[in-house]
């Protein structure tokens, strides 16, 4: 598993990558059905092939989620897509009571998770989606690193067999996963080897971590980067073993802290808290900015990851001034 295969690829949209995967699942499985809330980018190929297999709920996420639960209770396996902030926050009670508690086979696709809607503002940001979904019983949670990863996750989750949330971004993302060798989406995938520190990142922060590691290499630090796409069930043993080899572990995620990658890594690693440096989104009101600018504002971009690595490693006296 390496990032090399993705190096020459262009930024790509998760939605565009996922749409044909969903259509293929609908084609192959007669009990898979799709449903959306006035956002058909994910379901265009399904609608073209068989409009009966797409259910339009309009801009009404609470009804969408409970209605999908009703579909599931009559034997269908729904794939539901909507904008992440509204799917998660507005329909949270339906997600809990109608989907996760009974453990229905529904895959939920949240478009625009994290800060990926950028300048559309905090109404459209969903930095709390991971935390909220983490509080739901029986809910698997995936945070893909790029378009290739998102399609790969979807292939692993379809046809739906249990409740799962997959966070998708809203725009095009830099490629980090080798399409020819995507690896196991439920495992930690090391994209860059290194011996001085380990960065565990999820979602868009994987690209930021790789850029930070590259920057650190220029300064003489040898930093490993691994992608963690599956936040639940979390690969506890694997993280524990991997982290054991490093004096410093940095986590990076485009999400509020509770229930997120940093929380889970800290628990898995155990030991003194200082060993894990957690970079996540805090509660400040965001300025108007692009996705990248917001990652920088919240201190989860390449520059912040670089700082976390160099600051700690210098203090430990492991290296000469690397900057």
């Amino acid at each position: 598993m390496s990032a090399r295969g993705a190096a020459g690829a262009r930024p790509a949209s998760m939605r565009a990558a996922c749409a044909p995967v969903i259509a293929a699942a609908v084609r192959s499985h007669p009990d898979v059905i799709t449903a959306g809330a006035d956002g058909q980018a994910l379901f265009g190929p399904v609608i073209c092939a068989d409009p009966r297999r797409y259910v339009e709920a309009g801009i009404a996420e609470t009804n969408l989620v409970a209605m999908a639960a009703g579909l599931a209770r009559t034997g269908w396996r729904p794939v539901v897509g909507a904008m992440a902030p509204f799917l998660i926050r507005r329909a949270y009670e339906q997600l809990r009571l109608d989907v996760s508690l009974p453990g229905l086979p529904i895959v939920l696709l949240g478009v625009g998770g994290g800060l990926s809607y950028g300048p559309l503002g905090p109404t459209h940001h969903a930095v709390d989606d991971i935390a909220l979904m983490s509080a739901l019983p029986r809910m698997d949670i995936y945070c893909p690193a790029d378009a290739t990863d998102a399609a790969h996750v979807l292939r692993a989750c379809l046809p739906p067999g249990r409740p799962a949330y997959i966070r998708l971004t809203a725009r095009e993302d830099p490629p980090v996963i080798d399409p020819g060798e995507p690896g196991d989406v439920r495992a930690v995938r090391t994209l860059r080897a290194g011996r001085d520190a380990l960065v565990l990142a999820t979602g868009r922060c994987v690209a930021e971590a790789l850029a930070a590691a590259e920057h650190c290499a220029g300064a003489g630090l040898d930093v490993a980067v691994a992608a963690v796409t599956c936040l639940r069930p979390f690969p506890v043993e694997q993280v524990h073993k991997l982290a054991r080899d490093y004096p410093l572990v940095v986590t990076a995620e485009e999400a509020a802290g509770p229930g997120g990658l940093g929380d889970r890594v800290a628990t898995a690693v155990g030991g003194p808290p200082a060993r894990v440096t957690r970079l996540c989104v805090d509660n400040r009101y965001p300025p108007v900015g692009t996705h990248e600018e917001l990652l920088a504002f919240y201190g989860v971009d390449r520059s912040a990851i670089t700082s976390a690595l160099t600051r700690t490693l210098i203090r430990k006296g492991d290296h000469e001034d690397p900057v």
């Binding site: 009990d31 009404a60 009804n63 209605m67 639960a69 009703g70 034997g75 339906q94 009974p102």
Partner: protein, 289 residues
Amino acid sequence: MSSSAEQPSRHSPSAEHRPVGPADVLAFADRARLRVLRLAAAKPLHVGPALSVIDLLATLRLTVLRDRPGRPDWPDRDRLLLSKGHGAYGLYAVLAESGVLTGDLDRLPGHPADGLPGVEAATGALGHGLSLGCGMALGTRLAGRPGRVVVVTGDGELDEGTNWEAAQFAAHHRLANLVAVVDRNGLQQEGWTEDVLRLEPLADKWRAFGWSVAEADGHDPAAVRSSVTALLDGPGPGVLLAHTVKGRGVSFMENDPGWHMGRLTAEQLSTATKELVARAAARPQVVGA
């Protein structure tokens, strides 16, 4: 769709295996009422909402819904959802009286829980049932199966906005196999619905959302049966505004919001039981019951 074990079957007329008349339904419902009252003497529960909805639930189960005795998970059954989950003990008592639920009812949760025979989904967080029913009705239709869905809501429950999302959805998708029955007892937890948050003109609202509307005395089994059956035979979703009395059947509970939740003293239980027995005695004798 491959999950259903059985092929679609042609249905017999409603409840053909249980020919019952209005008097049978009312006698059945009063036996269910007694179960609720005895439970409410042991612990506080939503007794008023249960008594208001029991005649509706009994009518639907005995004269409208198609099922297979002993097979509550029969895939082609008609589904009954009690969206006003605080009427749980009304549902439990009706299910127990039908033989679907067995064992101690007093161990059951205060709102219908998943996994209980005859309970289609956990309800009680208000405003979920109609959306669940939309999915069930659509899922059944898309699968080419014959099952129909009846969702019983409270009237106060209609304050919840999701109901109206579901109402729009059902009309847009022409869910002819879906009927909502509103337990229009006029009261919600703190008082009259028209004082808490005005619902009227309620029939006009449903019509404006594209639903067929019927109104009936919710304690008249014949009227409820014919209304619901007609709505289920209609071209789109239908709603019955079933005019009921909260606390129906017990004089000191009727129309008293104080009995939304309550516990009966031994003396109150005795009085209530006598009233129900007297009412049953005054009713014309049921032939063949």
